[in-house]
């Protein structure tokens, strides 16, 4: 399978199953599309030569190049993975990542919060050290030979339970060497409670810090409000700047959510960049379609256009030495994920689970609070093995709707939670999200193509 598209003056051909990317001129773009449509070779020679005003010999030469790429496994490759049957149902999986809900409470009252202002549709609660410690032991015990173990301190707002976070990090550090493990911690915070102690500790211990900011002050303050119904932008931005300035190059993401209210979200991304942040992420809101901030069908083409604007502006800023990264455009063509990762996806419910303040296990943070998706708890382990096995099967080849999609080895079949909320089944698809995902991948690959072209022109 191939996917061809034109964007920002580039003609791009993706070879889906090899992962190859070709930047081609108008003639090759036409010829490759004709081959893909099943046209006869001699017919292609005649038609393409006439259409592009070139000699038939040139088209034949081009066809020979295409044959060479095909023989080299870089074009028109067949799907060799489906029949290999990576046996997902019977594969053994280990747990390698936990999302620790250390605080089911929050000091902001963001209207769009999928976690229902931190409460996840349940009671407010803080995780005790004992439950967190048991969760870390559960992770070590169930991680098999995996060395790198990820733990995200999440909420609600995890800084509302900061002492426990620090104790849990200290406990993990005390056991990791003997256990042959390497803990990588992430802190996801709204920033309100950041102080010098948080900054020092986070910059020492947290592999990654995810900082929530929606962009322009008026956009951020409209939905991210304090419990006293005030905007939070002025409280958090100086704190984020101080944290990032002293982070010493360690990873972080400035992460925003865009909604129907700011479909022109690129202005919020550029605002973040203009504030001095350079590792950015901006996500479409996840909420019920009848919420006033939900993205609508009418928003879809506008949002897609915004992704193009973002890609072009990133190229421009990069040329001027003012570049920034955008999470969804950080595609790594040479050092990216292997085919196993591309098929198996995020690992929710198998490799990755969320832990509530009470120690209950859920497939991921987005299922927390939905009792029928409870997998077990950190004391007794995974007891709902039937549910876990359902998640094992949830991959790029498990969803009938993904069969003909060129992007499935980039998204691995999509988010189970999004699918569930959109269709009632974790093996469904959230088509709106798919449309945006495909657009983001086209933009990300276009950026790589332009960079490769500019590099080649310099040499």
């Amino acid at each position: 399978m191939i996917h061809t598209y034109q964007l920002n003056g580039c003609n791009i051909v993706l070879d889906v199953y090899s992962g190859s990317v070709h930047l081609v001129d108008e003639i090759a773009y036409d010829v490759i599309n004709r081959i893909d449509a099943g046209e006869d070779r001699e017919q292609i020679v005649t038609a393409a030569a006439a259409a592009h005003g070139v000699e038939p010999a040139e088209i034949r030469e081009l066809l020979a190049d295409i044959d060479e790429l095909t023989a080299a496994g870089k074009l028109f490759t067949e799907d060799v993975y489906a029949d290999k049957a990576f046996d997902y149902k019977n594969r053994s999986t280990v747990v390698k990542a936990l999302c620790l809900h250390v605080a089911h409470t929050c000091n902001l009252t963001c209207n769009y919060c999928f976690a229902a202002q931190g409460k996840f549709h349940g009671d407010r609660a803080l995780m005790s050290f004992e439950v967190g410690k048991r969760a870390l032991d559960f992770l070590v015990e169930n991680s098999g030979n995996r060395v790198n173990l990820e733990v995200d301190f999440f909420g609600g707002e995890p800084l509302m339970n900061w002492d426990v976070v620090k104790q849990l990090v200290a406990y993990a550090r005390s056991i990791e060497k003997d256990a042959g493990k390497n803990f990588r911690f992430t802190l996801t915070t709204n920033g309100v409670l950041i102080d010098d102690d948080v900054i020092e500790f986070a910059n020492k211990e947290m592999h990654n810090v995810v900082l929530s900011l929606d962009g322009r002050p008026q956009v951020h303050d409209k939905l991210r409000r304090t419990v006293n119904n005030k905007g939070s932008y002025d409280i958090i931005v100086p704190k984020f700047q101080k944290l990032v300035e002293s982070r010493g190059g360690k990873g972080y993401y400035m992460r925003g959510t865009f909604t129907h209210d700011n479909v022109d979200f690129t202005n919020d991304v550029f605002h973040m960049a203009d504030l001095g942040f350079d590792q950015l992420s901006m996500e479409p809101v996840v909420c019920a379609p009848d919420e006033p901030w939900a993205l609508t069908a009418e928003d879809l083409p506008k949002v897609k256009e915004q992704y193009e604007i973002l890609a072009k502006e990133m190229l421009r800023r990069n040329r001027e030495g003012k570049g920034f990264t955008f999470y969804h455009y950080m595609i790594d063509l040479t050092g990216g994920p292997c085919i196993y990762k591309r098929i198996s996806g995020c690992g929710s419910g198998t490799e990755y689970m969320a832990v509530t303040p009470w120690g209950d296990l859920y497939p991921c943070h987005q299922f927390v609070g939905d009792e029928k998706y409870k997998l077990g708890n950190v004391f007794d382990g995974v007891t709902n093995t039937e549910l876990r096995d359902e998640f094992k099967l949830c991959n790029a080849y498990a969803r009938p709707d993904c069969k003909d999609c060129w992007a499935r080895l980039y998204c691995s079949g999509g988010c189970a939670a999004n699918a569930y909320h959109a269709t009632g089944s974790i093996r469904g698809i959230y088509e709106y999200g798919c449309e945006l995902f495909r657009k983001r991948m086209e933009c990300a690959i276009m950026i790589k193509a332009v960079e490769a072209m500019e590099k080649a022109n310099k040499e």
């Binding site: 090899s18 992962g19 190859s20 990317v21 070709h22 081609v24 001129d25 003639i27 030469e61 081009l62 190049d65 295409i66 790429l69 496994g73 490759t77 060799v80 390698k96 990542a97 999928f114 995996r146 060395v147 790198n148 990820e150 995200d152 992430t186 995810v210 993401y253 992460r255 992420s281 996500e283 999470y327 969804h328 790594d332 063509l333 040479t334 050092g335 990216g336 994920p337 292997c338 085919i339 196993y340 990762k341 996806g345 995020c346 690992g347 929710s348 490799e351 990755y352 987005q366 080895l409 998204c411 691995s412 079949g413 999509g414 988010c415 189970a416 999004n418 999200g433 991948m441 990300a444």
Partner: protein, 48 residues
């Protein structure tokens, strides 16, 4: 090639043989928390 520039990419078919160590980051964990892209994940083996 006159009409085609091929970008350097990881050969996915080859990664059937040398992939699957499982040490890479859980994709949703790193920033988005609300989608499931894997294309932007780094391979732990490749980055060593």
């Amino acid at each position: 090639m006159k009409h085609i520039q091929t970008l350097e990419t990881r050969d996915l078919a080859q990664s059937v043989k040398n992939g699957g160590c499982g040490e890479c980051q859980t994709s949703c964990q790193s920033a988005c928390k609300t989608s499931c892209g894997v294309a932007n994940q780094e391979c732990e083996k490749c980055s060593k």
